[in-house]
């Protein structure tokens, strides 16, 4: 069953075949976890979000219409789930606050550690982007989707994707200036 195509696996999943579903989860779990992690910037939250996404794949497998790839369909579910995801327990720890404190960063002397702080800061910045900009950015930079594919996933126009990406990256570009 490992060699079956995505389309065959989702058809079997629609019939309640949990072994087919298991293979789909195995194929997509890292990509979905990474997207969820970059979206939330919290590992535990990313796990909860990923689980919710895959449970929707199981539940709605019979609605897959083969007019797009399974990958696009799963990321569409991921996008819809992520923007509606309610996190009642989300809060930043003191350690997180320290990481984004410019004074703390300025005192750090080693380039390696400074670089690590910059990455943490960037992740924070991404997590604070408006949801649609954030998802477009993640799909483009971490999943490598084209503008058209992102438009299909987010149910919007190619031009709207271009604008979302432009605004997201301009925000990151300007905030980088504040950090340095």
């Amino acid at each position: 069953m490992d060699n079956l195509s995505d389309e065959k696996l989702i058809a079997l999943t629609a019939e309640g075949e949990d072994n087919a579903f298991r293979i789909i989860v195995d194929r997509y779990r890292d990509r979905i976890m990474n997207t969820a992690y970059k979206f939330t910037n919290e590992y535990d939250l990313a796990q909860d979000l990923s689980q919710e996404i895959f449970l929707k794949v199981w539940k709605y497998a019979d609605t897959f219409r083969h007019d797009s790839s399974l990958s696009t369909w799963i990321f569409r579910i991921a996008y819809n789930t992520a923007v509606n995801f309610k996190n009642k327990n989300s809060k930043h720890s003191n350690a997180d606050i320290d990481l984004i404190n410019p004074k703390f960063i300025a005192q750090d002397e080693t380039a390696k550690r400074t670089n690590k702080r910059r990455i943490e800061k960037l992740k924070e910045e991404i997590a604070h982007l408006p949801e649609r900009q954030r998802m477009a950015l993640i799909l483009k930079h971490f999943e490598g989707y084209s503008y058209s594919e992102i438009a299909e996933i987010m149910k919007t126009s190619r031009k709207a994707v271009e604008n979302l990406l432009y605004r997201a990256r301009e925000t990151l570009r300007k905030s980088r200036g504040e950090l340095l």
Binding site: Y43, R118, E162
Partner: protein, 143 residues
């Protein structure tokens, strides 16, 4: 000289321009230091985004999700088949009951309305040759 718009530099870096546009921007960047500086600045965002490390789901991730799924109801085609079989059985049983009732009513009618009429039970119990004799006797009695 017309400078390149920022949004076009993003499209250029994303490889979302047409071939001619890609060529035009590429040529312009070679000769315009101002646009080239902007291009370098914007491309550094891409490098920084690439520096964010990937994470991996833990080993039990898949099993945990599969264990959380609810069993799916039987597909519609199975329901349809089961429904058809049930209807066929109901029709068969109803038809059987109807025919049995009909035969029973007929036998009772004949038994109740003529003392000279042979009952169904006597007919069914009578061998063929005896039946003919019985009919003859009945015929003689009625004359």
């Amino acid at each position: 000289m017309n400078h390149i718009k920022k949004i076009d530099i993003y499209r250029y870096l994303d490889k979302e321009c047409s071939d001619s546009e890609q060529y035009r921007i590429s040529e312009h960047l070679k000769s315009c230091s101002e646009c080239n500086a902007l291009y370098s600045d914007i491309s550094s965002i891409y490098s920084r985004l690439n520096s964010i490390e990937d994470i991996h789901a833990d080993d039990l991730f898949t099993e945990r999700i599969v264990a959380s799924t609810q069993p799916k109801p039987a597909p519609l085609k199975h329901f349809a088949f089961g429904f058809a079989v049930t209807i066929a059985v109901i029709i068969s049983v109803s038809a059987g009951v109807f025919i049995t009732d009909l035969l029973g009513t007929s036998a009772d009618y004949y038994a109740d309305n003529s003392e000279n009429t042979l009952t169904i039970s006597s007919l069914s119990d009578t061998p063929e040759n005896t039946l003919i004799d019985a009919l003859r006797e009945l015929s003689e009695d009625t004359r």
